[in-house]
Symmetry: D2
Subunit: 368 residues, 4 copies
């Protein structure tokens, strides 16, 4: 796995989590690839996953671990000794990220070097970097894309997507940034013999919506408004104080409601930064709906989760699933992974139970 934003909270939680799993300090709770029907499928062993990444920030990975363990209270400080060696190896495989499109070739080279040095069968690049502001439309042909890259006219998330594909690596966009959004990337991935998937990991409020909206639809309860307010205190939250990033984030959260209900209620998704929460995220949702005879009723939800703890296992799941897909020769956009994403590229299935069924069918096509 090659993590973009390699010193961020999610990436370090991935690295520390894999180390803790190898050291058998924790059970595999939170990993979809370790439970239910998928448990019977043969994914890459935790011991065989090799980690590296790009990062533009400096600092020690172990210091990020210490902060997550002590001030964010999302993992046990007592594991420090057990994970330190693995985090040290990971730190050595972190390479300076790029900030301009002209560095595309260098990024491809970084990925190839990592693959060769560690003798990696299937390389999976996962975008975990800070959310970019919304960008305009991307070119729709490969030639135009490359020209735009050279002219430094593409968002960096798209430069990295191109780098991954040119290196023959799978690309997973776990953020709301543009990345590989657009049909041209399906063709590009097929051409380079790799897979890609996205967009924006579904970890909290949208996960609940995907589970609950089908209930309102099946029961013919008419949702009048769905007001969601998220507060969080980590770097992701700080980035979202920039209105452009916030609007990118809000837009990946918007489409779901109408897609499931068939009509558009009054919706709102607020995201605000509350520094003392650290890596914790709270979502308060208020749903107003009409039932029989037009009577107005309501549902309130408060979801209290640790952002990185919710995201990290999905990153590992996605990497394992992409490696499996490449092992069996799949190429192009993986359109059956909507279970993991807020804005599932290539899929119109939005109910969570259906998405899970679709995922299991994709991973285990031979299962009855």
């Amino acid at each position: 796995m090659w993590l973009l934003g390699a010193r961020g909270n999610v990436a370090v939680t991935v690295a520390a989590g894999l180390a803790a799993l190898r050291a058998q300090k924790v059970a595999s709770v939170g990993l979809c690839t370790e439970s239910g029907p998928l448990r019977d499928c043969k994914f890459t062993d935790f011991d065989d996953i090799c980690l590296g990444g790009h990062e533009i920030r400096t600092g020690e990975v172990l210091e990020v671990f210490d902060r997550l363990a002590e001030s964010d209270r999302i993992m046990n400080p007592a594991w420090r000794a057990d994970v330190a060696a693995d985090l040290h190896h990971y730190q050595r495989a972190i390479v300076l990220g790029a900030e301009r499109g002209g560095e595309l070739a260098r990024l491809v080279g970084d990925l190839q070097a990592f693959r060769e040095e560690h003798n990696i069968s299937h390389l999976v690049v996962v975008n975990l970097a800070s959310t970019e502001g919304s960008s305009g439309e991307l070119p729709t042909s490969e030639a135009a894309l490359l020209q735009a890259a050279a002219a430094d006219q593409l968002p960096m998330s798209t430069i990295y997507a191109l780098a991954a594909m040119q290196a023959g690596a799978a690309y997973v966009n776990f953020t709301p940034s543009t990345g590989a959004t657009g049909e041209v990337f399906d063709a590009l991935a097929r051409q380079h013999g790799c897979v890609h998937a996205g967009r924006d990991g579904k970890t909290g409020e949208t996960l609940l919506k995907a589970a609950l909206l089908p209930m309102f639809a099946a029961r013919n309860l008419r949702v009048q408004s769905w007001f969601g307010q998220n507060i969080l205190g980590n770097g992701d939250g700080r980035t979202l104080r920039d209105p452009a990033s916030k609007s990118a984030k809000q837009s990946t959260k918007a489409g779901l409601v109408e897609a499931v209900l068939g009509y558009q209620p009054d919706c709102h998704v607020g995201i605000d930064y509350v520094e003392p929460l650290g890596d914790w995220k709270l979502a308060w949702d208020h749903v107003l709906f009409q039932g029989f005879l037009g009577t107005q009723m309501s549902l309130q939800l408060t979801w209290q989760g640790a952002d990185s703890i919710l995201a990290a296992p999905l990153v590992i799941d996605l990497a394992r699933i992409c490696a499996l897909a490449m092992e069996r020769g799949d190429t192009g956009l993986l359109s059956s992974l909507g279970f993991f994403f807020k804005e599932p590229l290539g899929s119109q299935v939005h109910g969570l139970a259906e998405q899970y069924e679709q995922l299991v069918g994709f991973v285990m096509p031979d299962r009855a």
Copy 2:
């Protein structure tokens, strides 16, 4: 439709709701048979549904309407003039209920008379009466059942179930009472050419659980405790102050969690009576779960609904579906209606999305 507990809140909401639908004062919100794929199926028209019922309490149906409209605020007082005539007809078709097993034959006669008087094709009896205390095991043969009925050793809900079947009517148990629970009733219904279904309408907290538990399972989030507390102020709540009724209610709510998760977390279902709530019911649920690396997170829900408004459309849906099933010649236990019940007789499917899929497949076998 023949409603047991004919002057109760749910029954009067069914009657007033059908009247308001006929008078086109309201849309068909809340009726599953009027939305999604089921909308394309031909169910009995609202105009063709004829209502009667058994009741042991006295009083005017219109007074119940007034209370529900004015003090419980669950329907519009302005509809009074539009629904009064229909409620008056309904009132005239209410017959004194039975309180002893020895009256079985009289009950059968009441049902037959209603069917003949109104020239009814398919009679559906729905149990909406107050929850009984838990009873012991029922006899498992028809002969023993009839003997126990004559000896007044059966719960009244079971007497009514027998009456329905002996009259060739469908029987739906919308309450946690015993009713037709047990395999013998499948055989009995087949023999009398009718259908039956149950148990305990799924209107609030359990509905949410059925929608959310599959999410925890699919994401491998380990539920440590699910604490649910219901407060309500209607007659149902008053009945539940009796520990025996309460325990019956709590038991139909219990099985779901382990069935979906595959393990048994620390669960609690509290039900308490808070008189000023009237027909409104609040459920507060607190779910504590472990995610990746064992980190503890939580979800809180507050569901604020009107009990009768949630229940009444399901009663109409069930009656329409039973009539359809009998029209096409089905007999015996209908085991595909788990979507509607807390403790679905004959079914092991507990996730709401799967239950809905099962329902659609049952109602429209030729679809897709």
Copy 3:
């Protein structure tokens, strides 16, 4: 009482409420002047309160009543016949409002005419009009104020405040608009022999804060963040979609926290418009605080109230208290009414219990 914004929800609730009180359809719940120690004080009888007001919108008062009763569900439609005559009288006493400073003299004349026609002893003008955007600094001398009024350089709420004082009427600013904010108005009111008070009625979230902040302070629990989110669906909410009005509203809510705690935690007050809520307002507050040994704990609140129902009785209370003050010869700013206001003019007392003590002491100086 002379209500500015006379056809708005709060004003019509005041009028309908007084009518219902006179007709003895309701008890005096919600009126501070009818409970506790204040119950022993002799305020103006409900029968002796005469209503009029300024309004720039057209429409029938009775139609507003119908909307509040039927679609907003905040009062009983069954009272219509009992309140119609009083609402009709009120409607006849509503005069076209002003939209320019040049109309100051006309407004003074309107007030004087109303007082004479109805033989009113003490006239109290209450600002209930839509929140204006924040305005710049007001002039600080009376002469400069009058000059600015003539040059149409004052906010309309200030023009109305001047009109009230020039007519010798009490002026109460129940909104966040500028109105009579500034020391010059104390002098002006003294000079015209009248009283004034403000600013922004304390009806929901800020009321809870005023009750709870002293608890955190006294227990030395360190508040780290107080995140408040309000959603509402009435005209007030629609106005607040204008960023200027929203910022005025948020600023009157801000000062309290630091004033009580002595330090400034991370605070946020969000206000959003959710149309299907109608006159109902929900506030969700999340308070993160440190206790002993720095352990982080939290409190969440959900306040579900009807905006006009919370505001209207305070408007009546304030009018009665101002009339009492003028009866006993008080003039100038009434600085002991912080119990009623989010941003109490002239007062540094912010804890609710202390504010209540201050209020009782002001109204009944001879008690104890």
Copy 4:
């Protein structure tokens, strides 16, 4: 300080907290005696507080610290080295508790020995032991009490109260157990030259009620029901599964509402054990109230706190205040400490702000 239940969570949090304060690892957050006006008063220094206690359970104090730090996550595991020595001293001063009334004299001796060994000026005994079941009426004369003690007819909490007083030590009952409830103990304390106070520390839900009920009263908002549900996972919660203990706990929580409001709404206080919560306690409160025109509105609260973290600083505050009172010669029941207790002995003041004013007045009588 002499702690009854010396190896329980609260006692160990007191001990570890004092050690962390002495080691300057933490600020004095949570201590009322270190903030507001009380900050100016000269209480015993943390360095001068000497700890011991009675306990019937065995086990290492440091192991309790480890559990609280690691599995209950209520204090920082990193402090272990800093507090270990102090916890070791504390452990050596823990003496086997009594389980029969006949041991009264031995208990008195234990207290006297501790005082002499450590040269203590003012000894304060604080009851932190598990809640007993409700007991019958106590004798009302000292002679009868002693007779009942000898005949083993008194609750153990009362035996300990007698022991404290006979040793001339202050006695504080921080639990709902009987302890020194009854007028005879005022006389007894005066006679032995010591003070006493109680009953049941006010740490969570009741604290919120004491802050919020005066708001409802002052605003004349009519509370119709107050439904409170507590869930917790510590030993206290386990004890409360015993119906007798539960009923004792619920009864100390009951009186407040009517005392503040002047009428009795529909109240409920539920307490349930949810093991995975550990030392954390959640309280969900739902308040239904009528406002103007009888309109029904609601407030919901979710309080999420660590039981021992909330209790421990109050225990230290109470010990410091009792020592101060004894230093200045007070004897008998201290009736001005209602700020700290659910069921304040000797006081009819229930509003939190008033209780705080009363406390400050008691501690600092010379303050303006």
